[in-house]
Symmetry: C2
Subunit: 298 residues, 2 copies
């Protein structure tokens, strides 16, 4: 039988590199590990590591099992954490995934009333996913996904939570400030600042620049919204961000939002959950809060 302990050993040996170190971090004797491994290999009938001198290199089988371990162990660990929370009367942790950088500001506004409404539910936010947000939902890494790209597939449910317009942010004294809207060509001399994500996922490219076969003079990537807007305010570039976000920051920074194209870029943010979780009251509640939240700075 392939046991949890086996997977744990696999993972730890891979992490630490040597049997002895793995044994330490598993609070076992080196001998115990050796025995366990030998038994496992005898059971499944194929070696998991090949001994090259004193280093262990995983075989194909070993790599597969290692992969399995890295997928299953976190789920077991999360389940245990959840059980502990149930036991303490706590309800659990809502793990939120974000596939939309600027939405973070918005999320904070929803989380506040949520935490008040559900004092026994914790919230955790993740922003990096190996297999994308959808993968993280399917793989039970997160329970709720905030994304501009919904995917209506069986097993998942998406509902729109708010609409907004994506606008170009420029410094208040920028030469484009006076215009009612900008055209793609007008960005040819500009430095465009964006979050560091794939270019296909940047609306200003996929919906604005590329259709007109234009591109900015340069493209810079910046992680955080605050720094990005500091840069824009300093006239070091322009960026594309949600209108409400720009409105909010424009109190404290000399920036201005301009419509992209005559009609503007209209966007929608969705939250997605697993269908199987529909029964979880606090999850449903979060989605409702997110939708109803007539938050100020919009």
């Amino acid at each position: 039988m392939l046991e949890r302990s086996h997977l744990a050993i696999l993972r730890e040996v891979d992490r630490r590199g040597t049997l002895t170190e793995a044994a330490d971090s598993l609070c076992l004797s080196q001998s115990a590990l050796s025995h366990a491994i030998r038994k496992l290999e005898r059971h499944i009938g194929t070696p998991v590591w090949i001994r090259e001198g004193r280093t262990l290199r995983p075989t194909q089988a070993g790599r597969y099992l290692l992969n399995l371990a890295n997928r299953l162990l976190p789920q077991l660990e999360h389940a245990e954490a959840l059980m502990r929370q149930y036991a303490e009367g706590q309800r659990g942790t809502l793990r939120i995934g974000m596939e939309c950088h600027p939405c973070y500001q918005w999320l904070l506004k929803v989380v506040a009333p949520f935490l008040a409404r559900w004092p026994d539910v914790d919230v955790d936010v993740k922003q990096q996913f190996q297999f994308g947000g959808i993968g993280a939902l399917f793989g039970h890494e997160i329970d709720l996904l905030v994304t501009p790209d919904p995917l209506f597939k069986p097993g998942l449910q998406f509902s729109p939570v708010f609409d907004y317009e994506q606008v170009l942010v420029v410094a208040e004294n920028h030469r484009l400030t006076a215009l009612p809207h900008v055209e793609p060509q007008q960005l040819s001399d500009e430095i465009l600042i964006s979050y560091p994500v794939a270019i296909e996922r940047l609306d200003i490219y996929s919906l604005f620049l590329l259709p007109a076969q234009c591109s900015p003079r340069r493209h810079k990537e910046i992680e955080t919204t605050d720094i990005m807007l500091q840069m824009v305010a300093a006239g070091r570039g322009v960026a594309a961000l949600p209108g409400w976000l720009v409105a909010e920051y424009s109190d404290s920074l000399p920036i201005k939002g301009i419509r992209l194209g005559a009609d503007g870029i209209q966007k929608q943010i969705f939250v997605g959950t697993r269908t199987e979780d529909t029964g979880t009251d606090y999850l449903r509640s979060f989605v409702e809060l997110a939708r109803d939240c007539d938050w100020a700075g919009r």
Copy 2:
């Protein structure tokens, strides 16, 4: 520690309904189960079942764990099967998922050379997925997905394997046979036969009838291609199928394919895999075979 045995117990008790029966099918004494459960509940600190008379109803915690069990156990079991195959010198099993009914015929043509090329790799085909093909890929239920709807997300890779035209199949003596192509309105008097899948996934609706706001006189659903074509040949209805499939059957059945609309409905079939599996030689080989296969009846 939440062990595999616990998950197995959870699942078996749920399946069988009573502790005693579950014990039997796990080859354990009833007493052993009772002890195990008690220990588990003591460990995680919260009851897993509430005892209502002599029936056990899972608590919220129990339901969560049950869900976990149903997700993780199959993966462990598959891993064990895989290890057994490695041990026997076999390379593994390629689990193919199909989200495209008529592609089955095509698949058979690819599988044949594949089995010849990889004598130590087995092939298994699944056609039903709780969470859709994408979910099955992410959840490691299958290793390869054949679908007309690719999804370019991180963690997944899709590549087109062939193009075809979706045509209307009618009996040879049908009143529409002579036409170079049909218009949506001309189906208003027809009985349309399709596979039993959601209407959004039927191209003849989404790309042909619905845009013209038309619908057939009636809509029937049939599982198998053979029977479907028998029905069409007998003049009991029309269907929409890949052109190459119709061509193939028209040798043995009095049927004919007609273009849908002036330009026809052009389709593409993709195979999708997990990015992490890119290194698996036989998987890559399958995709190549699928793409290169200049199969006859196309």
